[in-house]
Symmetry: C2
Subunit: 320 residues, 2 copies
């Protein structure tokens, strides 16, 4: 099916919708976009110009980047959609109503994906009368045109065909989709982030390290490895590599790790007023010298180089 | 003091000691190494040849790389040390005895650092009669000549002067030292790793995602960002950047995050036999196609390029 996807409808063109739309256009797709916000279309035009050179050839700008319609009323255009990517407000009532409409007016079999980062789709398919089995979550990472990860999260009634179509479509765009076999709060990547953040907040609010040193403990240490090898592969390497590497590490370090876990559990960040105040104060101090206006552009530039470095290592296919 | 450090004694020349020794030599230091293991000296010679081109100019190999003595009995040479880096077995009794000797025979004020990744130094300074205040942990990350992070962990009796000397010395080598203000189990970076690993183990053993997809959820998502911005800076960017970015994110997402945390707590990886068996089985499956013999060299090559990419962005001084 993903070969047949030529036209994508993008609902909501804020931070996430803009990123998706640029990506779709750069891949030669036709895009129909809707967003009622004042100035949304102009903002998207600007975004397109800024983001294009990061992910596509400048000489293709004229031929590909204009292949979109920014519409007020998307209803009559839904029949054209081969795939829908929804990026509106994160509200159950809003998504429930919208998905009822999307389900009613799109063609049979067309997958309807929500970018939702928290709400599982079972919460908002309740009024889909035609075919809720083609609804699922396609959760991107900001910015969606740069970060490869997309979490595909089916609800209990999502069909295998829809799952495979979504995985195939995202892959065809150069994305790295992963599949959750079950809906869970926070999906995978936000849970992993929450896990590390809780311990980070605790260490900072307890005064063990400065916020600056905490960040350095990641960016100059394990963060460098996590850009290349995930937790499991990193553990396996720490255990000497090979098929037994992971098991060896667990065997050698398991009991020490359980001791650290006990201590971490005892000192979990508790979100109380005082801890939060200390944390926020420390975070502000740590970041006070950041040149914010230039920072995101610079981060994106380094990120792109990092992605190129990774793709330059073809024999590291195990590095995703 | 770090300007005066010309000679470093390296005790234990295994995985970690070899990395330190290469780094010290590449920075023009004289190194005195001891390790009783059969073949240790020959292994180090080979390691030196392999690692040198990664961190130092080939034309300096002849002038700098031979500036070491590999000795059987380090006792009589301890007087020459301006700094000691210990990398022997992770055993309290062994380190206690060794540190008594090191403390007795090194010159006054010379800092004695242990690479220990778990044992805080208060556990093994008990027999230091001369001056335990110059003992501390200098915990590197493997491989120490490539990964910048060094965790400096004083024990309650460590002097400010020793702490500053160690921080200055590691910085002068191009390392990124961070300071823990207090001994805690697992120090900072191993705790952060344990936090993410526990959730990873849980998600895999519960069958929510494959081990391969779990790794991709990091390397294609947050891991890419953690190589550049730590948890706090990443949160601040997620909150729109600026001095209020961190607080904004907490305000907007705090309650959702607490919900995820509750669910994670409920499903913590419990280390029981069955969960462990599933986890190890999944890890093996995920890594079965890895070309282990070439993998570490390739990972190191990509890691170096990543470090270069980061150092090529001078205006991102906030990225450490
Ligand atoms: N910001 C992130 O980092 C991030 C990451 C991954 C997923 N998400 C998810 O993506 C979705 C969008 O988030 P965002 O950050 O882009 O929010 P945003 O507020 O920047 O964008 C939402 C857009 O939806 C528009 N909208 C409102 N009503 C609409 C309607 N009836 N039809 C079409 N558009 C409408 C708004 O005008 C706005 O432009 C949310 O579900 C969010 O959870 C966000
Ligand atoms: N491997 C890692 O990833 C890592 C990371 C950071 C810190 N560390 C810490 O570094 C230290 C060394 O770990 P490693 O992984 O290099 O272990 P290793 O087993 O590879 O090396 C230890 C070396 O110490 C030598 N040794 C034994 N008795 C000695 C003696 N009396 N005098 C001198 N040397 C002696 C051994 O022969 C061996 O070569 C440990 O404290 C460990 O916790 C390890």
């Amino acid at each position: 099916m993903s070969n047949d996807i030529r036209t994508v409808v993008v609902i909501g063109c804020g931070v996430i919708g803009m990123g998706w739309a640029v990506l779709f256009l750069s891949q030669g797709l036709k895009v129909i976009i809707t967003d009622p916000a004042e100035g949304a279309e102009a903002r998207f035009e600007q975004y397109l110009q800024d983001a294009w050179p990061l992910i596509a050839a400048p000489e293709e700008f004229d031929s590909l980047s204009k292949n979109y319609d920014f519409v007020h009323d998307v209803g009559p255009r839904l029949k054209e959609a081969d795939f829908v990517q929804e990026n509106g407000p994160e509200r159950v009532d809003w998504k429930t109503e919208l998905f009822e409409t999307l389900d009613k007016h799109t063609r049979k079999g067309v997958v309807i994906a929500s970018s939702s980062s928290g709400l599982p789709s079972s919460k908002f398919v309740g009024r889909c009368q035609t075919d809720p089995s083609r609804v699922l979550i396609g959760h991107p990472f900001n910015p969606p045109h740069l970060i490869p990860l997309v979490e595909v999260v089916p609800h209990p009634g999502t069909s295998q065909t829809s799952i495979q179509t979504a995985l195939g479509f995202y892959r065809s765009l150069g994305k790295k989709p992963i599949l959750l076999r079950q809906e869970i709060p926070g999906f995978v990547s936000n849970r992993l982030q929450a896990a590390i953040n809780n311990e980070a907040y605790s260490l900072i609010s307890r005064g063990i390290v400065s916020a600056e040193d905490l960040d350095a403990a990641v960016t100059s240490g394990p963060g460098l490895r996590w850009a290349l090898t995930g937790p499991i592969a990193t553990n396996a390497l720490g255990g000497g590599g090979g098929p037994e590497g992971f098991g060896n590490r667990i065997e050698r370090l398991g009991s020490a790790i359980r001791g650290w876990e006990e201590d971490m559990l005892k000192h979990r960040f508790d979100w109380n007023q005082e801890s939060l105040a200390t944390l926020q104060d420390q975070a502000k101090k740590s970041l006070q010298d950041v040149d914010w206006p230039n920072m995101v552009a610079e981060r994106d530039a380094v990120l792109l180089k990092l992605l190129n470095v990774k793709s330059d290592a073809p024999s590291m296919a195990w590095i995703v």
